[in-house]
């Protein structure tokens, strides 16, 4: 193994390879920072470039794009309250409030360092534990996926706005929206209104950008007051620097992020989008001061961003160990691996040649480049906030259009985006919140399809959902957390009532 690493190190430590990795990382950072452009697109764009390259160089470049995009999604989330991917939704919860307090630089500094820690830790886990974790992920059948999604839906309580009931309604709205399209089991069209674009259901990206970006623009438009000069002093550039020590002080949040990213992240099809939300939820729930979350609390950012880059390593586990990509980005990456003649699977890890170790080390290098580039850029990113409000609003909408249209060139999705924007605006205004809608949209199909797939496989028998150990564990945890939430909610209400009366 040592010799494998040395051989791999020899492959990575070449000028060409390092340049390729750095270039991939830079492109990933740029594309990840633009709302709507994804790491999958960055990797697909680079794919043809890598054909002529030796494996470690080519794959390193693709991994760089993956890593860069994973980290830079935090930039629009923090500065503008616009998450470009589902996994950076949770970054907005504390990142944006912190930025509004004028501490955008601090938020970015925390996010960058946490991303780096998450990425490095997940690389270590990937190289040491990939086969057993992959085996664990394989044990997820319909029952387990269903229970996982129920567990995930409990997170709604954490991300709901002022009212738990209204948060629940918002989650249900997302769940309902997810049933639009071709039914995953029978193939019947549901609420498609003969729209080709709706056949495969509501696309997550227009919904995401509408609910967060467009709704935020509408809010800003409503509150826009040209007489109110933006006090530039509120955005302090001098505090914009990487925050190693402060991040380390919140080591518990880092660990929660890494664990969640490495354990939930590898579950194909479900893990990637909820791992960071799980990390946020758990960090908040077991924090001594849960009420500070959502107001610009540092552990909130740290847990989410460390999870965000840890889940990339997590998503690589089934991709490399089983040849099963969990989502779009790793699916494109898998294509890149196969074109290079590298067949993923357990054999890849038994293979003592340096290539696989070279890939691990290239991923490590990508994380280092990500840290360097983001640190260099941090003062630049902040300047976005110096753009006058009305120009910024126009520019954000223009970028939203590119993100949504660029993905699949479908004008219908632009209407969908605007519709979700208007809906999101009112949901925010009347205390429902938009994050639960996204959770419902992501977890809804997993819950529904797996419940029905399971019932089909078990011939209508419900008991396996409760007797299969992993499934039962998730259900028990979900019920426990739900009870805890209701109790905390009840106590919180009591306290605020007694405060009000005293």
């Amino acid at each position: 193994m040592i010799s494998g690493y040395l051989e791999g190190l020899g492959m990575v430590l070449q000028v060409g390879t390092l340049l390729a990795i750095a270039g991939g990382t830079l492109l990933g950072i740029i594309m990840g920072a633009l709302p709507g452009l994804t790491s999958a697109m960055a990797i697909a764009l680079l794919l043809p470039v890598t054909f002529g390259m030796p494996p470690v160089m080519g794959i390193g470049m693709l991994l760089g794009a993956l890593c860069g995009a994973g980290a830079s999604g935090s930039i629009p989330a923090i500065l503008l309250n616009i998450p470009g991917t589902p996994s950076s939704v949770a970054t907005t919860f504390d990142g944006f409030p912190m930025a509004q307090k004028g501490e955008a630089g601090r938020a970015l500094g925390l996010a960058i360092v946490a991303s780096f820690f998450g990425g490095v830790a997940s690389m270590v886990i990937l190289s040491l534990l990939a086969p057993p974790i992959a085996e664990f992920a394989l044990r997820f059948g319909a029952a387990e996926y269903f229970s996982l999604s129920i567990f995930g839906l409990v997170i709604i309580a954490s991300v709901a706005g002022k009212s738990l009931l209204k948060g629940l309604i918002a989650g249900l709205i997302g769940f309902f929206a997810s049933t639009i399209g071709t039914d995953p089991i029978t193939g019947v069209g549901r609420f498609t209104f003969d729209q080709l674009s709706l056949l495969t259901g509501i696309n997550l990206l227009p919904a995401l950008i509408g609910l967060f970006a467009v709704s935020q623009v509408l809010k800003d438009a409503f509150e826009y007051d040209p007489r109110q000069r933006l006090e530039e002093s509120t955005h302090r550039i001098d505090i914009a620097r990487p925050r190693f020590l402060e991040t380390l002080r919140h080591w518990k949040a880092v660990v929660a992020g890494i664990l969640s990213g490495s354990i939930v992240g590898p579950i194909p099809g479900a893990g990637g989008s909820i791992a960071s939300l799980v990390a946020y939820d758990q960090t908040r729930r077991f924090s001594k001061s849960p009420e500070k979350f959502g107001t610009g609390h540092a552990p909130g950012i740290v847990s989410v961003e460390s999870a965000n880059n840890a889940l990339l390593g997590g998503a690589l586990i089934p991709t490399l160990a089983l040849g099963i990509p969990g989502e779009a980005a790793t699916a494109v990456l898998l294509g890149g691996l196969m074109i290079q003649g590298i067949t993923p699977g357990p054999l890849l890890f038994d293979d003592q040649s340096g290539t696989v170790y070279g890939i691990f080390l290239a991923y490590l290098a990508a994380n280092v480049f990500m840290l360097l580039i983001m640190c260099l850029g941090i003062k630049l990113f902040i300047r976005v906030l110096m753009v006058p409000r009305k120009q910024l609003l126009a520019a954000i909408l223009v970028f939203c259009f590119i993100g949504v249209y660029g993905v699949d060139g479908d004008v219908f999705n632009l209407y969908l985006m605007l519709g979700f924007g208007v809906l999101g605006y009112f949901l925010n205004r009347y205390d429902f919140g938009t994050a639960p809608v996204i959770l419902g949209l992501i977890l809804g199909p997993i819950a529904e399809a797996n419940l029905r797939r399971g019932l089909q496989a078990f011939q209508g028998d419900w008991t396996p959902f409760f007797t299969r150990p992993i499934s039962l564990t998730f259900l028990v945890i979900a019920v426990g957390l739900l009870a805890l939430t209701l109790w905390q909610n009840y106590r919180g209400n009591r306290r605020s009532e007694s405060n009000a009366s005293s």
């Binding site: 043809p48 071709t182 040849g323 990509p325 980005a329 074109i339 699977g345």
Partner: protein, 314 residues
């Protein structure tokens, strides 16, 4: 009438496209619509071909992923675009599947097919330690009362239709369970959550190579070099021949010289052998087909799909 129409189209193309028509095609970058998201079989096939085609044609090939509607959105976009050779489509069986299911407002007759480039078989595979050693075992179990759960990618997908066709031709009754995509179906088979999967050979390649899954049969007429140990349905006595093919198509009315330019380019790439290794790494085979032969092949495949889809509707 037809001639008049094509003359009109030609004239229109001249007015709109300007120099596009002359023999100096191509003069600007060419859009290639991939009606699926990045990372799918269709996408990887074109992206691997992209640098080679750009070298042959001397212009940029811009790949546009237009997923949605199981390929329907991208394909309708292609149908609606000008047949000037600057908007092409990465075509595959999916088109014929959609047509057979009757969900889309176009048929394969609305396209001019330039070339079929690669193909792969449908494979039925079971877990590596499955009790079913061969197709015979599986079919016997299925016909003697055991419920065989078969995972496929996507309800109404071509794999789904292939699985139905397999069930019909072998007389076995399968409990077909649709997963959102190939990778979910493969992991379900690896984890023992389903008894078997039916998927394209490329998607199954790494799982088969690592021994996590075991192929019982594949749908070519004859054994293939990429899976030499896997018997065909035909040799096991079942009349079933299906292939997954991928190629290039254009909206109907493509000028003959443009088509020739493309056919020449692809022929050259195939002759160079530069694509062969890549195709093999992807678990597919280069099996080029052009012109009339190709049209006959497409018509026949469409017929097979329609039959199988009819079975699905039952």
């Amino acid at each position: 009438m037809k001639k008049l129409l094509s003359t009109l189209t030609l004239a229109a193309a001249m007015v709109v496209g300007g120099p596009a028509l002359a023999d100096d095609y191509p003069t600007k970058s060419i859009d290639m619509i991939v009606p699926f998201s990045a990372g799918g079989g269709n996408d990887t096939f074109v992206r691997a071909l992209q640098p080679l085609l750009e070298k042959q044609l001397g212009e940029d090939l811009v790949i546009r992923n237009i997923p949605g509607g199981g390929g329907a959105v991208g394909m309708s976009r292609a149908v609606a675009s000008k047949p000037d050779g600057y908007t092409l489509l990465a075509a595959s069986n999916a088109m014929l599947t959609l047509e057979a299911m009757g969900n889309v407002p176009f048929t394969h007759n609305d396209f001019d097919f330039i070339a079929k480039v690669i193909e792969e078989p449908y494979v039925i595979a079971v877990g590596g330690d499955s009790q079913y050693a061969n197709l015979e075992d599986l079919v016997n179990a299925a016909t003697s009362g055991t419920t065989i759960k078969v995972g496929v990618s996507g309800v109404g997908s071509s794999a789904h239709i292939a699985a139905v066709a397999m069930a019909n031709r072998t007389g076995a009754e399968f409990n077909i369970i649709p997963y959102p995509g190939g990778s979910e179906a493969i992991s379900a088979a690896m984890g023992g959550h389903v008894d078997a999967v039916v998927l394209g050979g490329a998607e199954l390649r790494s799982a088969l190579q690592s021994g996590r899954l075991k192929a019982l049969a594949m749908s070519y007429a004859e054994r293939s070099d990429s899976l030499p140990d896997v018997p065909t349905f035909q040799e096991q006595g079942y009349d079933l021949t299906l292939t997954v093919w991928r190629g290039i198509a254009a909206p109907k009315g493509l000028p003959a010289d443009v088509e020739k330019r493309w056919v020449d380019a692809i022929k050259q790439i195939v002759a160079d052998g530069s694509y062969e290794q890549t195709a093999e790494n992807l678990g597919t085979q280069v099996s080029p087909l052009y012109g009339d032969e190709l049209d006959a092949f497409i018509d026949q495949s469409a017929e097979v799909m329609r039959e199988a889809a009819g079975d699905l509707a039952k």
